[in-house]
Amino acid sequence: MLTLIAVFAPLVGAILSGVARPFIGKSLAVGTSVLFMLVSAAAGLATLAAGLQHGISGPVRVAEWVSVGSFTAAWSLRQDMLSLAMVAMVSVVSMLIHVYSVGYMSHDKTKPRFFAYMSLFTFAMLMLVTANNLLQLFFGWEGVGLVSYLLIGYWYDKPAANAAAIKAFIVNRVGDVGFAIGIALTYYVFGTISFDKIFAAAPLHVADNYDLFGTTFPALEVIAFLLFIGAMGKSAQIFLHTWLADAMEGPTPISALIHAATMVAAGVFMIVRMSPLINQAPVAMEFITIIGATTALFAGTVGCVQNDIKRIIAYSTCSQLGYMFLAAGVGAYPVAMFHLINHAFFKALLFLAAGSVIHAMSDEQDVRLMGGIARKLPITWLMMLFGALALAGIPPFSGYYSKDAILAAAYAVHTSVGYYGWVCGVVTAGLTAFYIFRLFLLTFHGSSRAPKHVQEHVHESPLVMLAPLIVLGTGALGSGFELRKYFIGADFSSFWGQSIQVPAHSVMTSLDANPNWVTFAPLVLASCGLATALLFYVFVPALPALLSQRLGILYRFLLNKWYFDEIYDVLLVRPALRLAKFAWRFGDEQIIDGVPKGLATLTADASAQTVKLQTGSIAFYAFVMLVGLIAFLSLFLWVR
């Protein structure tokens, strides 16, 4: 019942604030949305508490959905520990961001629409995490994608926002094709799309094969690959990551809620949710590890040179999601979830603090035009510092616990793929500390580089925006330390119950068994990164410019994000548009329509010729008749 309230309250709020706005007025519409979100967060926390105290209960069935043959899916809410933890996290973070938005969006003309979208998003996200079958998961999955599209393009008179919104939807859909085919193949192999039945039957289908590309593959490997392609799109992993940085065109609270804390983590959640199936696909798991580690490193390098405050954090999100996949790929699902929850708090914090800065700087987002505002924004400064320390993995902040656990797990599997993941992860830890402190120092310290009129207006944000920051800051400080013993401690399996299945011979028990240098390497590199940032942006400010000149090629390569957008443009976007024009103008109009048109012309020509025979002369007609008669008579006699 509590779960039901937690999930559906945002939907009611969205409908009321969206549809009833003309009748109840703007502020009441916004208030309704926030109120229902508060209800949802309270119910979300209560249901988690109830689950922890009295044990989890079975799924709540809401209604029938699809039922065709044995392809059946009901609207229902799953209530295992994985779902409950996500429900609590999503509803609380969303509630905080709703509150923050009351301040941040106060000058916006159409803010009920904004709140309606945000509440709708929360509903879709909650449906996703409480899904009890693949189809409802897909419903939530596409639903969050839709609202993400709507919110990226929220300021729809900005062409850049529209382009970014369309790009996000299309790139996500590319991944979703993989997901949809994965669902179909799961149904083909298992004869069901219900989680419990799939999980129970997964070990029985290890030997099943599926023919593809003229070769035979284990069916479960194919399913795992297809599902992961979906996850790559949603979680912006390398090759399908290009939409995330552009998505920063949306309002900042959205970047915090959708593109940091919740939606982009859905890919990780899905892989963890499908763990009993993924465990049976070792090759796919190695692929997940490699993609995750590579994304972490790739996005980390790009983050080091970007200048837009939100884009730096966006690439950081991409990189941190890579860490989570790295953990999932080596079978350390609880660690992936641990980092997911920690990340949700500290990344939402970073985005909201960035929003507070942008708000104070009259919508300026370029870190090169900031600086020296630490004294004017003391609380924002402190909270941003908390977020940065948590992201950089400095103890006792939350990121330290989960990131170290991920790297420990990667090393502990002792496979070449695991070592690759570990090396990428450790290097990324150094890069992460560097870029986030680069951002922090450029934003708050040094002398101000902003225009005069902007400097005069710099002000600390109102309480309604600071309060959520403080709550999230507390989370960034304490969530790692507090949750560690539940999520990945010795008793982790009794905490997660049946909701997560780690593989046999799991690394979960050997996280502390690594050599000392392995354990301390991430912290050492993070400290080095932090020190480099201090050196570059406090002690020798001329150094970065010098380096970027000396290493021009490398700098431009990173600044242009490894040229992914340019390559896709040349290889995919432009050829597709040309093909479209060609298919229409040549294929459809000339060839396919040409044949009937040609026939029509032929008929018209033939009749024009025939008309000429009709001369009107009786004698001519009689003569032709005579010739015809003779011809037929001779034919008749000859044949006979």
Partner: protein, 505 residues
């Protein structure tokens, strides 16, 4: 006569003719006639819709065969009779027709010339279409099938746009040429079985060699109607030039006649040929999805873009039918309903702009979301349903077809699924060009949001889009029995041993 004691199907079919009669007898001033004609047509279609809903209520979904059968002797010496009946497959197609006719009537605000004639043609079209879906005699079916052409030809040719004559003639010749092949096939089958009763025909075996020829004949006829690629080129012209109500009926209802024909005749009566032709049909379906989506992407006019999108979605339906799986066929049927509603919604959206004196060139629209928020929300909803977003009607059909197709072939499923990406590409381009960015012209800023009549057209469509998407079971449980029977019969007829056993008994 039937379970109900009165011939409900004939009543539904021919009741619109009463409206036509009333229209013909109207007298008075031109403006008065126009106003009254509209009322008469609307009331007639609503009464028929009410009867249709009653039919749904009394329909028993557990029976796989025809219900409410009617039989009158007619040319009995030739084995032909007047037979009507409805099963789970045709029930919703009839209801779709009944539901969309009043919407088409409400959408004909732009018709000011020969109003009586126009509404007569629309009601006549309703009669012919419903009769076609309800006929259970092949000759009767053929007569209705061809008769649909006449009112549609007039609607395009008399009330259409600038190139209406060209479009009308092209439409007429394409469909008629296709239908002639069906007539040949029909005569052969009639000769073979000695009857044109569809139930009898279903149980009359046809030699596999002949089946292939008959199948090709049906393909020519139904393929043109369903706008199967490459027989689709009449469609953008006809959709583009027809007046809005005509476009709605063409896209939403008439295109389903072809798909219905495949499902009712080609697949169950010619099982061997259908199975042999399945790869061909998959290729045609996939080409429709991929190639036509690209063509849609290149369009510069809102109406033509929606028209091409319609062809692309017909590809999904064709793929679904020829998977011969329960999921695929039910998906195809569901997609037929969903497509009818969604495409009608999208065309009504274009009508809203036309009614405000705006053109449909995408480059001359933009920024409408600011002044027309409700319109924007509804256009967005229909667009999302068109791209198959879960929770809307489009998703259910699409995922079922993908699931069914994967049982047959991975690549068919994959290519069918690429429609998910391509449709998003062109629909979002359309939505952006119409609703977002800044106004391209100052006149656009003065447009008003929806009026009462437009609400009356669009809200029922929107409600249905959501109903089909959120609770599809109210529809799928009606097709379940006939589709299961169809698949079972199809599988059985492809197994020579069981067929032999039946013969020896």
């Amino acid at each position: 006569m039937t379970q109900l004691g009165f011939p409900i199907l004939s009543l539904i079919t021919f009741l619109p003719l009463v409206g036509v009669f009333l229209l013909v007898t109207l007298q008075g001033e031109d403006e008065l006639i126009a106003c009254r004609a509209r009322m008469i047509a609307l009331v007639t279609s609503l009464v028929v819709l009410a009867l249709g809903l009653y039919l749904w209520d009394v329909f028993d979904p557990s029976i796989p065969g025809y219900q409410f059968n009617e039989m009158l002797p007619w040319l009995s010496g030739f084995g032909i009779s007047y037979r009507m009946g409805v099963d789970g497959i045709s029930l919703f197609l009839i209801l779709l027709t009944l539901f969309l006719t009043p919407i088409a009537i409400m959408a004909s605000g732009s018709i000011t010339r020969r109003v009586r004639g126009f509404f007569s043609a629309l009601l006549l079209l309703e009669t012919m279409t419903v009769g076609m879906f309800a006929a259970t005699d092949l000759v009767l079916f053929y007569i209705f099938f061809e008769a649909v052409l006449l009112p549609m030809y007039l609607i395009i040719g008399v009330w259409g746009g600038e190139r209406r004559i060209y479009a009308a003639v092209k439409f007429f010749i394409f469909t008629l040429a296709g239908s002639l092949f069906m007539l040949l096939a029909l005569i052969w089958m009639w000769h073979n079985a000695g009857s044109t009763n569809i139930t009898t025909l279903l149980h009359t075996p046809i030699p596999p060699k002949v089946q292939m020829w008959l199948f090709l004949a049906f393909l020519a006829s139904f393929g043109v109607k369903a706008a199967v690629w490459p027989l689709h080129t009449w469609l953008p012209d006809a959709y583009g030039e027809a007046p809005l109500p005509g476009t709605i009926m063409l896209a939403a209802v008439l295109s389903k006649m072809g798909a219905y024909g495949f499902l009712r005749f080609a697949v169950p009566m010619l099982p061997n040929a259908a199975a042999a032709a399945a790869p061909l049909m998959f290729v045609l379906g996939v080409v429709a999805v991929v190639y036509v989506s690209f063509v849609a992407l290149a369009q510069t006019d809102m109406k033509r873009m929606i028209a091409y999108s319609s062809v692309a979605h017909m590809g999904i339906i064709i793929i679904g039918i020829f998977t011969f799986t329960v999921e695929g066929v039910e998906g195809a049927l569901f997609q037929m309903l969903s497509h009818g509603i969604v495409i009608a919604g999208l065309f009504v959206c274009t009508g809203v702009l036309l009614a405000r004196g705006q053109g449909l060139a995408l480059s001359r629209l933009g920024g409408l979301a600011a002044k027309m928020p409700v319109y924007a929300a509804l256009l967005m909803l229909f667009s999302l349903a068109n791209v198959g977003l879960p929770g809307t009607s489009g998703f259910i059909g699409e995922i079922l077809v993908i699931v069914g197709a994967l049982k047959v072939n991975f690549w068919v499923a994959l290519f069918a699924a690429t429609g998910m990406v391509l449709s998003v590409a062109y629909m979002l381009v359309l939505v952006r060009a119409a609703l977002f960015d800044k106004f391209t012209r100052p006149q656009l800023a003065g447009l008003l949001d929806l009026n009462g009549k437009e609400y009356a057209m669009m809200l029922p469509l929107a409600a249905l889009v959501l109903w089909l998407g959120i609770y599809p079971s109210s529809f799928t449980h009606v097709f379940a029995a006939p589709v299961a029977a169809l698949i079972q019969a199809h599988t059985a007829s492809l197994m020579p041993h069981t067929a032999l056993a039946m013969v020896t008994k």
